[in-house]
Symmetry: C2
Subunit: 284 residues, 2 copies
Amino acid sequence: MNYSDLLVSTAKKRKSIVCLGLDPILDKIPIQENNLRKKIFIFFETILNEIVRKNIYPSAVKPNYAFYAQYGFEGLYALQDVISLFQKAGLIVILDAKRGDIGSTSLAYAKECFGFFNADAVTLAPYMGYDSISPFLKFDQDKGIYVLCRTSNNSAVDFQDLVTDGSPLYIKVAEKLCAWGSGNLGAVIGATYPHELEEILLTFSKLNKKVPLLIPGIGSQGGDLKSIVGLLKKYSYLPLHRINSSSGILYAYEKVHNVQYNIAAINELNKLNEEIEILSEGLC
Amino acid sequence: MNYSDLLVSTAKKRKSIVCLGLDPILDKIPIQENNLRKKIFIFFETILNEIVRKNIYPSAVKPNYAFYAQYGFEGLYALQDVISLFQKAGLIVILDAKRGDIGSTSLAYAKECFGFFNADAVTLAPYMGYDSISPFLKFDQDKGIYVLCRTSNNSAVDFQDLVTDGSPLYIKVAEKLCAWGSGNLGAVIGATYPHELEEILLTFSKLNKKVPLLIPGIGSQGGDLKSIVGLLKKYSYLPLHRINSSSGILYAYEKVHNVQYNIAAINELNKLNEEIEILSEGLC
């Protein structure tokens, strides 16, 4: 199935556009287990079991490569385990790896992400241009690709806001994505910048393109959910997009007393799904 | 030792500014060995032994992460082996990984590259700005960082050449590197674009900064060695920089008859070292 169609059908099936970030932070995982790979796996397996038990799902999951790779091979084995675990449960897995290199090297990265790790989608960096993206586009047309467009961090302004011929760099990236893509090419846009999100949505709308968005930055980074959902509804088709939350869900137990981490996480996921459902007025 | 000082002293000791790219391409490795990790290790160990035997050294080595990661865990074990092998022989190891993410995630990548893999230097992507670079700068001030500035591939023009206030994006990146760095922050500039290299060197010169350059793109990509060395001599201090060659050296045996791959590789490395020495007129 085409990646955009998969996104839309999954959102409708799960009644969710939430992407659950799967970023292990060892100090925050409340499990007594010395084996790092096991500790990470048990943490996410317990959360997944609660997802299944309560039938409250996210609409994709997103492990960030760095959070696993920092722990060396044990971490990377855990990444492989976690991808496989969530895929077997029918969830879309977006590998957040922000790869990008010259053509032949990007092909090797596509083999890593789509071949070896078997992710359903991947995040890429745009700086090196089309030939760093195209090996991923050609590798498997059912796989998804999200290119960094306007990121959620403070220093996003350093280069992404530089203006050429009246348009900032992130709009130039957005325009190129429209030229290069065909349903499987999406964009990463931080929830912390609703004005920039609106500009980008307007660009896609003018060019008559439906570009799947991956939107991190709500919760601890401060993005406003109401504005984001409002903009997605106004300019696009909500079920095509994913709003990401990582630590706000995974480590929700830290903010409530005497609640097991898996229960606290799924309560938080449920809350986010419901908030978006109310804001979307039944569009999902 | 400060990374810039290490570059200069190593160049003088080795009489070389060549960085040898260590990119395994299984089909081109002429060794009968089914175990992938062993095959890659034996290939590079045999080449290193020839380097030591002939006392003809490169002045750094650069494994590209993608070429190992495409083969999964066996490839990544080989990467760890290869880094350790060349470090033990006293060579600077630049891990070409082109990482970049928001601050907390970039710190995890710094732990991966500098901690787990113990590389001496790393390549990074600039798109997300300062807070994606700073965790690497702060991790260990003796380690080196090369940020993509003007890359060697055809599609580099897509974004890197966009002009803001009279300057292309790669000059904006070059200026920021001068503002952020202090001897351990370098730039990647492709040898295929000597005009752009000159502009960047002029920028560094005007800002009175010595920024170590990592220059891929000679050989199969078509960069002209004479122009590159001429520009480095004119505007900067040659021993601070590294000119990279990967497949041109590693797989040199393909172009000569009846010569073992290790001997062909070191002959090619020697040729490149000598060409640069002649062009540099004894500056190395």
